[in-house]
Amino acid sequence: MLLSRVAGNLYWAGRYLERAEDTARIIRSYSDTIVDLPVSVMSSWEPLLAIAGATEAFDEVSEPADEASIVHFLVAETANPGSVLMCVSQARENLRSTREVLPREVWQTLNDLFLFAESHRHEGVGRRSRGRFLERIVGESRRIDGMVMATMNRDAAYEFLAVGQSLERADMTTRVLGVHAAGLMAAGEDTKTHVDVQWMSVLSSLSALHMYHRSTRSPVAGPDVVSFLLGDPAFPRSVSSCLTRLTHRLERLPRADAVLPAVRAVEAEVARVDPADTDGKTLDHAMDGLQLALGEVHERIVATYLLAPVTA
């Protein structure tokens, strides 16, 4: 027995917490890479906005698209619902009224994380303190996830938290692939010198670099990276793994038949992508398709579990 409202709160908390962590990780890795490369190769911070899906929202605040404004917008801007700070805040608001279904320390840790993010948000912008700030966001998110994994009953409440997390994680991986990887594949010959560094940046933005090497036993190469991040069943952040986990979680919920076909549709889309035979544009396009298909899964979840029926 789980109230639709509570299920919704958990689902959104799972999504927001994952988004906060992923955004922090991506900004961290991007910051690390950009300082290593000559200005001619990689100088723009705008791809970060594209990955976060925040290009238009940023344009509305009409700031110069420089490092400080973009990082501030993605880390600390309260008017940006997708900023790290606001994601943590929204995860907290969603869990505030569902504390009774969670292990006690989960709420406390999330509450502490919010208080930290709010009071130290400016440290997330300046280059020198940024790394430590983002590290803390990622680390605390991992800690919360660990508490949930280790101490939470595997009941419907857990499933909704995990469903939100898996869906968001799959979506983030497609965004990184669609913007960052596709951009790399499309890059001209003159930038090829530093291409390995940038592929490594793609991997590390998903905490995938080390696992990529273990899994492929080969040097970093574009198509292999795409293949790994899309389809490697061993890597938990690959789109396929996220979809498998999503399926397993949904199968434990009532009325899952209304949602599972949408998940299978995403899996079919993933299978259609051939990393060896793709250019940047095709990849970007394929990732847009995946994001739409993931959006459909979200719609089905909302309609099946979270929307309030008006009459019996």
């Binding site: 639709s4 409202r5 919920l253 009325r255 579990y305 029926p309 009459t311 019996a312």
Partner: protein, 518 residues
């Protein structure tokens, strides 16, 4: 450091009643074991135990919400580690008095919404009923199960200087505090584990299962397992901790208005498996917010159509809508008459003499003696609007007299009682602080009273206001079985010294002298 009874004086210089100590400083019979232990432990050790209790409260997340700048803030529940003790023999009489009182009040409510014989028989004035703001015409003609309307009641008891217990008020709408009774006990067991082993202190944790049984018994159709829910206004309500606690303890859902819907006069909740029928609602939402179709149309806390479903007998609501008609502070003055009228019995518990400004002669008495009165609005709860005459300035008194004359029906007054005190850990020493007691009474097919209740303590020196929203704290309440000589039954501790907690004073303070604490 020793506290003498001399510091506990009322205004005319005579001693106040202390819950643990006689006037000469010897412990009251039921408190012998406790006071002896407290004196053995010394102040530093008690402070240490208080500190540990405060840490427990924080980590257990026992909170209440206060409002400031429009924001709700969770505060740790203020708790004093020294319990308040009541002899079981006295408690049994009090319990009987509370059950009697609730029976009569429930008969009264049922009567008001049906035949109104109490009015026809001239016992309760018709004009008072007509002017009652808590009488809900929408409830006329409804017959809830067992004739019970106020299923859950929290009555406030106070003790005067001569030791008499009085009922100060009955809270029949959405009384709160019972969760703290149970949480306080958990903490006090940790602080005084040895005393719980050595004497018979009545347990308090049966309440939630009694509550669950009561609520289930109200289900409109007998079912194997009735679907009971707790309806909360939401996370920003000051008692949200308690709503959540009770739902968890009973293993039922904690719902908000938007989780429920009414279809075909039946109530459902929205779950991930679809709509599920609801049989019983323990609501912690005030009447006027329950159903925007019937009451306040702007309420987003309620459920449209809920009153229809209730009137149709398809859902039970506890407390029933309209039950608040009987916790009006004006109605209070009639309770002894109502007990005689409905039950043909003399009241077992006393009412505080109450002057009804509604009557000209009583109003004149109140205005002439306002400096010795506690003046209360008839329909407020939480201590708001309460004026203690002897603490008020001349300006405040004059303003209150004006308010009484402008709307006499809205005011009642009572002589200032010299509320009893209990030893309480203060900054530098143990000092007496005023206390009251809120037992909780369940009324359905049968009745149940909590063993003791919530002892609230006014932490500010001299203050009589015990509400947690206004600087009050709480204590655990021990109902202690006493033997034939009236002394608390204590198991001798021979040979058990090894298992009891040694005082930490010497270890902590490097041999500082034990202090006589009280």
């Amino acid at each position: 450091m020793a506290i003498t009874t001399g510091s506990r004086e009322q205004h005319d210089g005579t001693a106040l009643w202390d819950e643990l100590l006689e006037a000469d400083g010897t412990p009251r019979p039921a408190a012998v074991a406790l006071v002896t232990r407290l004196r053995e432990l010394g102040f530093a050790e008690l402070q240490e135990r208080q500190l540990r209790a405060d840490v427990d409260i924080l980590t257990m997340g026992i909170t209440f919400t206060v409002y400031s700048d429009g924001r709700g803030i969770d505060r740790a529940w203020p708790f004093d580690v020294i319990p308040r003790v009541i002899a079981a023999s006295e408690w049994r009489r009090t319990e009987a008095g509370l059950v009697q009182r609730m029976k009569a009040l429930n008969r009264f409510i049922d009567d008001l919404y049906n035949e109104q014989e109490v009015v026809h028989d001239g016992v309760f004035p018709a004009e008072l009923l007509e002017r009652s703001v808590n009488f809900r015409p929408e409830c006329r003609g409804v017959h809830p199960a067992f004739g019970a309307w106020a299923h859950i009641c929290g009555s406030d008891l106070v003790r005067d200087a001569d030791g008499t217990l009085y009922v100060l008020e009955d809270n029949l709408r959405v009384p709160s505090g019972v969760s703290y009774v149970m949480e306080n006990r958990l903490i006090s067991k940790r602080a005084f584990a040895d005393l719980f082993e050595r004497q018979s202190i009545l347990p308090v944790d049966g309440y939630t299962s009694e509550l669950h049984k009561l609520l289930s018994s109200l289900a409109p159709e007998p079912a194997v397992s009735a679907c009971v829910v707790v309806l909360t206004p939401g996370v920003f309500n000051s008692a949200y901790f308690e709503h959540s606690y009770l739902a968890q303890q009973m293993g039922v859902e904690l719902v908000e208005g938007s989780d429920l819907l009414v279809d075909d006069d039946r109530v459902f909740m929205r779950t991930i498996s679809g709509l599920q029928r609801v049989d019983v609602i323990y609501r912690r939402v005030d009447d006027v917010f329950l159903d925007p179709e019937t009451f306040r149309p702007d309420s987003v806390l309620g459920v449209p159509g809920l009153m229809r479903a209730w009137r149709a007998g398809n859902v039970a609501i506890a407390n029933a809508p309209g039950a608040g008609v009987a916790d009006d502070k004006v109605v209070y003055a009639w309770v002894p008459d109502l007990i005689r009228y409905y039950l043909g019995e003399e009241p077992l518990l006393r009412n505080v003499p109450t002057y009804r400004c509604f009557y000209e002669d009583e109003r004149r008495h109140v205005i002439e003696n306002i400096g010795d009165m506690v003046v209360k609005p008839a329909n407020e709860s939480g201590g708001y609007g309460l004026l203690v005459g002897r603490d008020a300035t001349a300006g405040e008194l004059a303003a209150r007299i004006g308010a009484i004359e402008a709307d006499p029906r809205n005011w009642v007054a009572q002589p200032t009682l010299d509320l009893s005190t209990a030893p309480t850990i203060c900054e530098d020493e143990i000092e007496p602080r005023h206390v009251d007691l809120r037992p909780f009474v369940l009324t359905g097919r049968t009745s149940y009273v909590t063993a003791g209740g919530l002892t609230r303590v006014a932490l500010r020196k001299g203050s009589l206001v015990v509400n947690s929203s206004q600087g009050g704290g709480s204590k655990d309440t021990w109902i202690v079985e006493t033997g034939f000589d009236g002394r608390a039954d204590i198991t001798p501790v021979t040979g058990r010294a090894a298992v009891s907690d040694p005082p930490a004073t010497t270890a902590v303070d490097g041999g500082r002298q034990q202090q006589q604490v009280m």
